[in-house]
Amino acid sequence: MIQLFHVTKHYKGCRALSDVSLRIEKGECVLLTGPSGAGKTTLLKLIFGAEIPDDGQILVQNRNIARIRPSDVPFLRRTMGFVLQDFKLLPRKTVFENVALPLIIRGLSSSGTKKKVNEALQAVGMEHKRTTETQVLSAGEQQRVCIARAVVNSPIILLADEPTGNLDPQLTYEISELFKSINARGTTLMLATHNKQVVDHMKGRVIRLDCGRLLSDQRAYQ
């Protein structure tokens, strides 16, 4: 599903990732951990096609991300979902409009969009807020909407970068549960976090990074 071969990335001379090799199988739950600046976000960005590695190769669904044309990046992203700490929801738009956006981009019909959005909102428990504008939602609700938008396209891979960074322990637990249920349905999950509660709760494969190097790769709870 995802393979990294000796990947290195620098930002203006500073090393973000150094000689990282990985293999992630379909349907796996991978937790990327490590302190701030360890290279977790860079790794996700490379898989997402937002960055190009300075060295090494990245294969995502047998496509080499290092050599992908910029015009193909949007189509790669349509096979993935992305959840961020700061939600990245469109302000002044309703919950429904935000979740429907990936489907509009793909040119899905109105009836198809409505059906899929309702299913996604139901999965994250936000169907009752579908007409509410996103800026009036609480942090936990915004993150649920963000997850609904990430999964509405039925992505093969779901990438999440510190998705519980702004949430209290109870909300963190609820969001972790959501990710678990999405992964249980067969979606490959890569979640970057330094929250031990999340790592313990998810019971997935833990990849530890520090200063851009891969320190350990273990299945903590099997």
Partner: protein, 299 residues
């Protein structure tokens, strides 16, 4: 269809959200097209007048005070035999005086002090439109001038040619000024769109995140530019119409040259439409130029 509705809605939302820059964009396009339109209006009307005059080039052959009937007949024969002459008419001294009184009733007193009729008899020869080049008419005039009984020959072609030269300068001026104004307008609309793009950069980042192509991101801004151009173009056509009507009223009030105002015409519908479409093209070009550099970089 759903995609287009979404993109159109986004464009309209952006126009509403950035009212000041929208207004600046509309006014700039309007000003550009109005300035260009003034030139175009002047050019088309002068060209029309020139065209009308060119079709009616006349050679006026004034006879000497003491011309004989034989000289008159010989001259008439010569003119009628000349292939480039379409029609010949004789204006006697009496008819010339009557024409003067008729055309300039307020100035009739000028002739009272002179006594008698100072106006000469003349032949008016209408030159065929196929033979009305300045050189050709000039040659005919020279030959006529040599005939007995001829006092002076005058023809309108020379200043028609000058007017034609003026029209060509006007044409060149319109093209140069039009280009400069178009560039200015493209720059300003382009900045308006860039500002809208900058204001919404976070939304653009989100769209990229969820797999929107550069084209999908750019289309609302191109629509925005097109709307700015169409509204600006419509505004300029309205302005030009208003200015044209005021100009006609002023001309009428001043009592300038009889029949002149009725000869002036506003643009036909197709030209007005072309100006509005021109505004749209201007707006689209400006938008494409401003968003191209943003969307072509790696997402």
């Amino acid at each position: 269809m759903k995609q287009f509705a979404y993109l159109l809605r986004e464009a309209l939302t952006s126009l509403r959200a950035n009212r000041t820059s929208t207004l600046v964009g509309v006014l700039t396009t309007g000003f550009t097209i109005t300035s260009f339109g003034i030139f175009l209006l002047l050019y088309l009307n002068v060209q029309k007048v020139v065209g009308t005059l060119q079709d009616h080039v006349e050679l006026i052959v004034y006879l000497k005070e003491d011309f004989s009937s034989e000289e008159k007949s010989q001259l008439e024969r010569w003119l009628k035999q000349e292939p480039s002459v379409e029609e010949v008419s004789f204006v006697s001294k009496k008819e010339a005086l009557e024409d003067f009184h008729h055309q300039f009733p307020d100035e009739s007193f000028l002739l009272d002090g002179i006594g008698g009729n100072p106006l000469p008899a003349s032949f008016v020869a209408t030159i065929s439109p196929n033979s009305n080049s300045a050189t050709f008419v000039s040659n005919v005039a020279t030959q006529v001038q040599e005939l007995p009984g001829v006092e002076r020959v005058r023809y309108s072609q020379e200043w028609v040619e000058r007017l034609t030269l003026f029209v060509s300068y006007l044409e060149l001026g319109a093209v140069i000024i039009g280009l400069i104004l178009c560039l200015a307008s493209i720059t300003i609309i382009s900045n308006t769109i860039r500002l809208a793009f900058f204001v919404r950069r976070e939304e653009i980042e989100i769209l990229r995140l969820i797999g929107a192509t550069g084209t999908f991101i750019a289309i609302p801004y191109v629509i925005e530019g097109a709307i700015l151009g169409i509204v600006g173009g419509g505004l300029s056509v309205g302005l030009l119409r208003g200015m044209f009507e005021v100009f006609l009223q002023k001309i009428n009030a001043l009592g300038l040259i009889g029949g002149f105002p009725s000869a002036l015409e506003f643009f036909p519908f197709q030209t007005s439409l072309t100006l509005i479409i021109g505004g749209m093209v201007l707006g689209c070009t400006a938008s494409i130029l401003s968003v191209y550099s943003w969307v072509r970089v790696r997402p």
